[in-house]
């Protein structure tokens, strides 16, 4: 006869097995329609482009070389690919600036929300949530209508006589920045608010009691305590911003490309799938570095609180 110990162990094993069966549909779907194909992208990045798109099954490191370099068609020498590098640089720059803008605006907004009374807090949260779940394309389109030459901003400025001709905002980096800051602001506010809401204001009182000024209370007490939320918000904004596709294609026009537009180009007119694949992997590497920074920060944060 089986001992109680064996029966208990068998029950545990059965439980774990059932838990695998239960999670199988989700895991398989994500594997086949999200994660698995990423491996194919990696493979494609080492193949030769086909003449009408797709690839020839022939190993070539050329795609990776051309991520950063250009090969001279006559003497085969390599030089830095100015166009690619400027797009990389623009993407990283715009993503970082977007993160900073949303932080500068989102932090006070989250603080404002967290210091409302219990009842109205839900209302403010609701007001932030609505744009968050509203179609990103529609929100970008809304920004487009505001800032274009015939848009409300320029119309008002001209009617008031402040400018004589409309300011060209659309199809510039500024337009992309305004658009991204606009669409990603809720992504910053929500996590910052989540940690701000848990803030114990008796600690703030204690700070004032110990002679801290408003600025010192903000910097020495409030900010360190909500730092996990700030880091989470920054990551949540940075990741979609570095890979942003809709906002630069609508507000940046054809010239001000970001990484995603460059990638799209390789699968469209460029007909260079290996290069598109290599660029995609590069975007993912940038995101993974950002995530690693986040994990390390979040980890050390927990240690300090524990």
């Amino acid at each position: 006869m089986a001992t109680a110990e064996e029966i208990a162990r068998a029950a545990d094993r059965r439980d774990i097995r059932n838990r695998w069966y239960l999670s199988a549909p989700a895991l398989l779907t994500i594997f086949f329609a999200a994660v698995g194909p990423l491996a194919i992208v990696l493979v494609y990045s080492f193949l030769t482009p086909g003449s009408y798109g797709d690839v020839k099954w022939q190993f070539s490191p050329e795609a990776w070389v051309s991520v950063l370099f250009e090969r001279d068609i006559f003497d085969d020498t390599l030089s830095l690919a100015g166009a690619h590098i400027s797009i990389f640089w623009r993407s990283v720059k715009l993503a970082i600036i977007t993160t900073l803008i949303t932080l500068a605006l989102g932090f006070p907004t989250a603080y404002f929300m967290a210091t409302r009374s219990e009842k109205t807090r839900d209302l403010w949260l609701f007001l932030i949530t609505i744009p968050f779940w509203t179609n990103l394309l529609i929100r970008t389109f809304a920004v487009l209508q505001i800032i274009r030459n015939e848009g409300i901003v320029n119309t008002v400025l001209m009617k008031l006589g402040i400018v004589s001709a409309p300011i060209q905002i659309l199809y510039t980096d500024v337009a992309i920045l305004i658009g991204m800051a606009y669409v990603y602001l809720p992504l910053m506010v929500l996590p910052v608010y989540a940690s701000m809401e848990k803030l114990d204001f008796r600690l703030v009182e204690a700070g004032y009691d110990l002679y801290a000024s408003r600025w010192q209370v903000l910097r020495r007490i409030i900010f360190p305590l909500v730092k996990p939320g700030v880091i989470a918000g920054s990551i949540l904004v940075f990741i979609p911003a570095i890979g942003a596709y809709v906002t630069p294609s609508v507000l940046g026009g054809g010239k001000n490309m970001m990484l995603s537009n460059l990638i799209e180009l390789q699968f469209g007119q460029g007909r260079n799938w290996p290069l598109g694949s290599a660029l995609s992997i590069t975007v993912m590497l940038i995101v993974m570095v950002a995530l690693l920074v986040y994990v390390r920060n979040a980890g050390s944060q927990e240690v300090r609180h524990g």
Partner: protein, 365 residues
Amino acid sequence: MPEQPGKNAIEVRGVRKVFGSGEAAVAALDTVSVSIRENEFFTLLGPSGCGKTTLLRLIAGFDYPSAGEILLYGDDIALLPPFKRPVNTVFQSYALFPHMTVAQNIGFGLEMLRKPKAEVKARVAEMLKLVRMEHLASRRTSQISGGQQQRVALARALAPQPKVLLLDEPLSALDYKLRKEMQIELKRLQNQTGITFIFVTHDQEEALTMSDRIAVMSSGKILQVGSPWDIYDKPADRFVADFIGETNFLTASIAGVENGKARATLKSGATITASVADGFQPKAEATVVVRPEHAKLTKGKAELSGTVENIVYFGTDTHIHVRLDGSNDLFIVRQQNARSAGCGFEAGDKAGIAIGDDAAQVLRD
């Protein structure tokens, strides 16, 4: 073991429960054996972490023992899943289903047993009456008070007429007055239904007031099983004596153990007759305990003597702390208060402490 009237509802035989494995293994129950009689109000008493809740969970079937048997009227149920055991539980948090009404909660078990609708209805009505909740039958469980939730939890567990009812610290969430009321209510329900109750608590007062018998547990072991009187007046060892009530510990040399009595010679030189705990192994020196209310403070000479150090007034009685001559230990005497009269002593007074025959108990450890 004393004589055993009636049948045993539950017999726990050599049950061990180990959590974790290898180096990290912890024995929550260390080879426990105990018999619980039919129709008995049996209490598992001990501090948190002593294994009392683990034992209850093993009987309920929420966990399985690492070794040993659990018999319900002679059948080993140790490995049966909870829904195959005719045993029901009143949970500490009540665990009432929030999406059902009071009546639906009470009828749940019967429904699961596929009883005919009419029978379920009648039984639910009967249960509602038993716990005096008829007027709240169609309320949601979130719309009733803590005490009422407690009654619903009881009715729900009693409705399927279990062979044994398990109660896991059911009164701990209630305030003091309500707890007192429910103690009486529980006792009434047990008398009325005649079901065997196994009650888990860390509250010694609760255990003493309600139980037919008590098992005192510590560190995964049962230290003593007995009636409230046995447990209080004749504690078997230091832990039981200390955990239940207040007590004075004295060192004495023991001679002439016979018929559960012995001559104990205290450090002061006085010799008293004391009862001896079961399982006492003869040895030269042992610990003797005297409850504060079983000793008397005198002006003259007595078995012990010392100086009054502190007088603490409690309303019904007064505690007088006496520093003993010689050993320098503190001895507490409890005196019943009379109206408009002091205790007759003041701090600094010399006093004698009289310990009558049979007021002292020799511990086994």
